[in-house]
């Protein structure tokens, strides 16, 4: 019992930033729902979840290279690229749809893999490699889809952007109004998608030797090497995983919008927001500390902040300013740590 309490206290102390972010999210989301005329309803939750999925996947994608102590400036571009690929492939027979989804995820993963290989064997800095490969990804996306458009299976669009009940209804799985189903039928499918991928992919990864190595590299690369850890494998895997998560984001974006759009500006904005989400979640940009679940929380915070503009009346021309100030204030919360520092040398680690 004492042991458990100790372990909890330990985990709390070691990931204060994460718990802080979680608490912040709970508070602002609660208030949002209170202010919303139809707060605490399935419809609102469904909408919120839909809006959050893409950026949440990107935040998770960004987390992995950040844990290495790197940065992936191509995640937005890979999301864009994969959504364009999906918009070509994800329609037709169920088999064709599944195949299209598979190819989409595979291509994002492959792109990430390429990033990793260049970083490792070229011994180049991730930030600059991915700045360049990001341009390449956008180029390919523009090539695939010079103008927005494409086709996505309509049932898939509807089923994956609604509650479980609608999913069951769309595919006539069973009686969507069955009594036993009622307690869960309101849960949004996008939320489940997000959580399933997050927990089924991230948690095992973190607990694998490769995942552990990612943390070790971010913490002290030289030491990790000296400890005989598979450095190259872990780096390549990290970028591949980032590519995979970005592809999840791209696939979902395509399904959600029933189309693909090689939008350069959107790609750039998503990349920058993914970094902001990672930081908000409490992952250190220096590497070694944090995790994808934390970034998921960070992404949610980022989104919920913008929900407020629809609830509260704010001059639309002041909205960008307020958004900027809130973002700046949120990331500055991390600075509270520096105020507590009593030894200036601690500032430099």
């Amino acid at each position: 019992m004492n042991k458990i309490r100790n372990a909890l206290a330990n985990s709390f102390r070691q990931s204060r930033a994460f718990y802080g972010a979680l608490a912040l999210l709970l508070v602002i989301y609660l208030v949002y729902n209170i202010l919303h005329p139809h707060g605490f309803s399935s419809a609102v939750l469904v909408q919120n979840a839909n809006e959050t999925v893409a950026i949440a996947f990107l935040a998770m994608a960004q987390t992995v290279p950040v844990l290495l102590g790197g940065l992936d400036l191509s995640v937005g571009a890979v999301m864009t690229l994969t959504s364009c690929i999906a918009s070509e492939l994800v329609h037709g027979s169920p088999a064709a749809i599944l195949f299209g989804m598979f190819v989409t995820l595979l291509s994002g993963t492959a792109f990430g893999l390429m990033n990793g290989i260049i970083v490792v064997y070229g011994r180049l800095q991730p930030i600059i490699v991915t700045l360049a490969t990001g341009a390449i990804a956008i180029g390919i996306a523009l090539f695939i889809r010079p103008k927005p458009g494409g086709e996505i299976d309509a049932d898939l669009n509807w089923a994956s952007t609604n509650s479980l009940r609608d999913l069951v209804d769309t595919y006539h799985l069973f009686d969507p109004d069955a009594a036993w189903f009622a307690p869960v039928s309101w849960i949004p499918v996008p939320l489940i998608t997000l959580l399933v991928v997050a927990f089924a992919v991230w948690i095992p990864f973190r607990k694998s030797v490769t995942g552990r190595t990612v943390y070790a590299i971010g913490s002290a690369e030289g030491a990790a090497y000296m400890s005989g850890l598979p450095i190259n494998r872990a780096k390549i895997a990290a970028f591949a995983l980032a590519g995979f998560f970005a592809a999840c984001g791209g696939l979902y974006l395509a399904i959600q919008t029933s189309s693909g759009n090689a939008d350069v500006m959107q790609a750039g904005a998503y990349t920058l927001n993914s970094i902001a989400a990672v930081v908000l979640g409490g992952t250190s940009l220096l590497g070694g500390i944090g995790g994808a679940i934390a970034s998921l929380v960070g992404a949610c915070i980022l989104r919920v902040i913008s929900f407020y503009f629809r609830i509260v009346s704010i001059d639309p021309l002041l909205q960008p300013l307020i958004e900027g100030i809130v973002l700046l204030a949120a990331v500055s919360l991390g600075a509270l740590r520096t105020l507590r520092v009593k030894n200036n040398l601690d500032l430099f680690r």
């Binding site: 494409g150 309509a154 090689a262 929900f307 629809r310 639309p316």
Partner: protein
Amino acid sequence: GPKIVSGPGAEPKCFAPWGADTKYLQWEKKKGPYKVAIVNGFVGNTWRIQMIKTAKAYAEDPAVKGKIAEFKVVSTGTDAPAQLGAIEDFINQGYDAIVTIAVAPDGFDRVIRLADKNNVVLVPFDNVLDTDKVMQVNENQLEMGRKWGQFALDELHAKGVKGGKILEVRGLPGNSVDRDRSVGINEVFKKDGGKWEMVSVVGNWDDGTTQKVVADAIAVHGKFDAVVGQGGSNGVIQALKDAKHPWVPIAGESENGFRKAIAEHSADGLKGISIGQSPGLVAIAMKAAISALEGNVMPQLISVPLPVATYKELKDGQNYWSNLPDNFFTVNEFPPCGVNISGPAIMAQTESNTK
């Protein structure tokens, strides 16, 4: 959702159907006053700012004020999920009408379905959707492109020029408005039979970028016989001036600066045509939304006439203002719709106190 009915619709002078085969839609009549929201994409250029100000001014207009119970404007940037989310959120909040400039011509299937389910009127304008399932408001972009091209061609023919280099300045890539205008322009030159070489550059609808790419193109190609461009027309003028390029026929949008330049230099060869997408479209879209909520029969695609002004028709103080800044869009009012918010009135009113 709306029923498909037969025309004619309400106020045909204002809500002109796009063509003879345009469908008519009718929503169930709702009791006012209504909750109306505007979901803009980005606020990155003057056009959008002028649009937002027009919307706010129009909501205060005595003719509509009483019909609107709540009015909200949000801008979501170039982020598709955020825009879709905002629309859906307004639907959830029980708004009656949502007017929007879409960030992409596709991808709205889900919100359209939700709007229909909840009897919400969704009205895209400017960058409209490639769908006929919602009521939309726009000027005819294809036609705009054709008119631009035809004007330049006519001016060149009048000078006896039968072939040469034409510089086409394009807008933000991947956007339906840009796509349709370009198709129109190229179609005209292709049909002409003369030997025209089209050089195209991307100006992103903004003056500075346009100016830079046009300057680059002049540096490489030396001389053009005409410039046909979308938004960013002020940049075209500036680049030609800086390069001391002789004045040639130029087609562009309706920025005040562009019109000023045409008026000033048309005698020197700057034969210009100014056709602009009007930020005032937002007011028509709002009006259409309210009209639909009142149960009126509405055309599915509402056509707003192209505000054409060539160098022959420009009048200072009327369709351009030589004493006002360059960067607002001149065409903003639509008298047949009772939309009387002039560009200079909302964009330049405070000029004096910042000068």
